[in-house]
């Protein structure tokens, strides 16, 4: 029916035991055997520090780490592997830009974000504002949980130095119309950063076609370990950036008086990097590429439609975000009248349905929508009809218990 064997896919994930309906993939996706195997293989056969050792293990570790960079460069279609900086995650990547790119900004310079950003794409800019006196402007959100792009002309101007928005919302699932953002930013010569934490797990990207300057994402949301992520940056932009953290690997020459920094990507990778995690992230990228993209897309679309239809059919439930299938991910937030999201989640948990409730690290969005929080179901390719059935059975239980 869905064109690929979801049962077989589930068997690749040791954690997906019968009775577990894992619908919190937007927070952290589960990890397949292939990725764990890559991690363990690295740790048990090539483990060493990278870049400075001449012995066999060190050469192998360095080669594996470099190969991971090449793999991720391919995944985002970078022109050059050196445009890929390994970070600790999306948060680490955005903070890196806020410091490295932000160091050149002057008081009064403007950064445009949106109201529906994750805290990780808000707070680093607030900290920069407090450090450097830049002005932070936020695109509002539409009633159906999208960035209000019609406001771009009003917010973007000659002082705009960066537009930093999410590629897809972790709350509403809305996918941003990047072309419109890029066109507006280009009109004033401002670079664009996309927070790709939610989008990257959905398949290879083309940063060149997107026309952006920075792209950030996390390993743990794309079936890889915690503690690793990627900042892709356009070569020229990275080259002009100041270092962020100081330490080993990121230097060319250190004296106590002054230090010369290495070229990107090393300039931005201070200290021993997350080597095995990068290797595992590369394995995850390969694993995602190995999925039958069309069939997975159709499968997720069908399950998302079941979610949206089923929620719409229940009178006390309101979908927070786009109610249609256009321009959205398989992430669906909703509010149940008179029931707090945590109570929804708790009751579903009793049935093995793992759902997230709360502000989803997007408090300004919650304020804009005047909500304390939402409950959210977010799907991955391994979710199946059984998961959706269990979800609705649990939701009906909620409605029954909280009349």
């Amino acid at each position: 029916m869905s064109g690929f064997d979801v049962a077989a896919l589930r068997r690749e994930f040791p954690i997906l035991v019968p009775g577990l309906h894992y619908l919190d993939n937007a927070a952290t996706a589960q990890t397949p055997r292939a990725v764990l195997d890559a991690l363990i293989a690295h740790e048990t056969t090539h483990r060493a520090n990278v870049l400075r050792g001449v012995y066999r293990l060190a050469e192998e570790a360095t080669a594996a780490y470099h190969a991971a960079r090449v793999e991720l460069a391919g995944y985002v279609n970078a022109r050059d592997p050196n445009e890929v900086v390994f970070t600790s995650g999306t948060t680490g990547a955005i903070n890196l830009v806020a410091h490295g790119f932000g160091a050149a900004l002057k008081p009064g310079d403007e950064i445009v974000i949106s109201v529906l950003e994750h805290h990780s794409n808000i707070v680093p800019w607030q900290l920069l504002r407090d450090r450097a006196g830049v002005v932070l402007k936020a695109l509002p959100v539409t009633l159906d949980g999208r960035i209000e792009l019609a406001e771009l002309p009003r917010l973007i101007g000659p002082r705009t130095r960066l537009v930093a928005v999410t590629h897809a919302s972790n709350v509403t699932g809305a996918v941003t119309d990047v072309a419109t953002v890029v066109a507006a930013a280009r009109s004033v010569g401002a670079p664009v950063l996309l927070d790709g934490a939610q989008m990257a797990p959905h398949g290879p990207l083309d940063v060149q076609a997107l026309g952006v300057d920075f792209y950030a994402f996390s390993g743990h949301k794309m079936f890889a370990p915690n503690g690793v992520g990627v900042l892709w940056g356009r070569a020229e932009v990275l080259a002009a950036m100041a270092p962020f953290q100081g330490g080993g690997e990121m230097i060319r020459r250190v004296t106590l008086a002054r230090t010369e920094y290495a070229d990107p990507p090393h300039r931005f990778e201070a200290g021993t990097p997350p080597i095995a995690q990068a290797v595992a992230l590369a394995a995850a990228a390969r694993w995602v590429r190995g999925l039958p993209a069309e069939a997975v897309h159709a499968h997720l679309r069908r399950l998302t439609e079941r979610l949206l239809d089923g929620l719409a059919a229940r009178g006390r439930v309101r979908v927070i975000g786009p109610t249609g299938l256009q321009g959205r991910l398989a992430t669906v937030s909703f509010a149940v009248a008179r029931v707090h999201p945590h109570d929804v989640c708790q009751i579903l948990d009793a049935r093995g349905v793992a759902l997230r409730g709360g502000h989803h690290c997007a408090q300004p969005l919650m304020d804009a929508l005047d909500l304390a929080g939402t409950a959210r179901a977010s799907l991955a390719p391994y979710n199946d009809d059984g998961d959706i059935d269990a979800f609705f059975a649990g939701l009906d239980d909620v409605l029954r218990r909280f009349p």
């Binding site: 008179r338 707090h340 999201p341 945590h342 009751i347 409730g357 929080g373 218990r401 909280f402």
Partner: protein
């Protein structure tokens, strides 16, 4: 599993909590956010002779938080600061794994002991206590 979290007693209290109102002339007010879930409780108090005379509150939170606020608003009346601190400690302890049941006048909070198996929900029950302590301190300082 967690079904008994939502027994009738808690749900009744929660409804009471959701319907609660603020005090018009409070001696002090405190608002506390739960950093992890964004829930928020505002508590108003009036004091008489160092003891709580009246409590008003408004809670944007889950059933556990609403129920706890409602129960606290009745239990705390007439208590002074040390008594509230003792009660807070007793209820906090009662929510821990294998914690002791709370003793009089806090025994009503025994309905929350199913939270022992759900550590992430403990702060829901405790949020109103935090707000009350803050309001009490503010009122005493006036």
């Amino acid at each position: 599993m967690s079904d008994d979290l939502y027994q009738a007693a808690i749900l009744d209290l929660a409804r009471q909590g959701a319907a609660a109102t603020r005090l018009p002339h409070a001696d002090a007010t405190a608002t506390v956010d739960n950093p992890l879930c964004g829930d928020r409780t505002t508590v108003d108090v009036t004091l008489a002779g160092g003891r709580i005379a009246n409590i008003g509150y408004k809670t944007r939170g889950c059933a556990l938080c609403q129920a706890a606020a409602a129960l606290l608003a009745t239990t705390a009346i007439g208590l002074d600061a040390p008594a509230i601190a003792v009660g807070t400690a007793a209820v906090t302890a009662s929510l821990q794994d294998k914690g002791p049941d709370p003793m009089s006048p806090w025994e009503g909070f025994g309905i929350f002991t199913p939270v022992r198996r759900h550590p992430s929900r403990r702060s829901c029950v405790l949020l109103p206590f935090e707000a009350l302590a803050k309001a009490f301190t503010a009122a005493s300082a006036v």
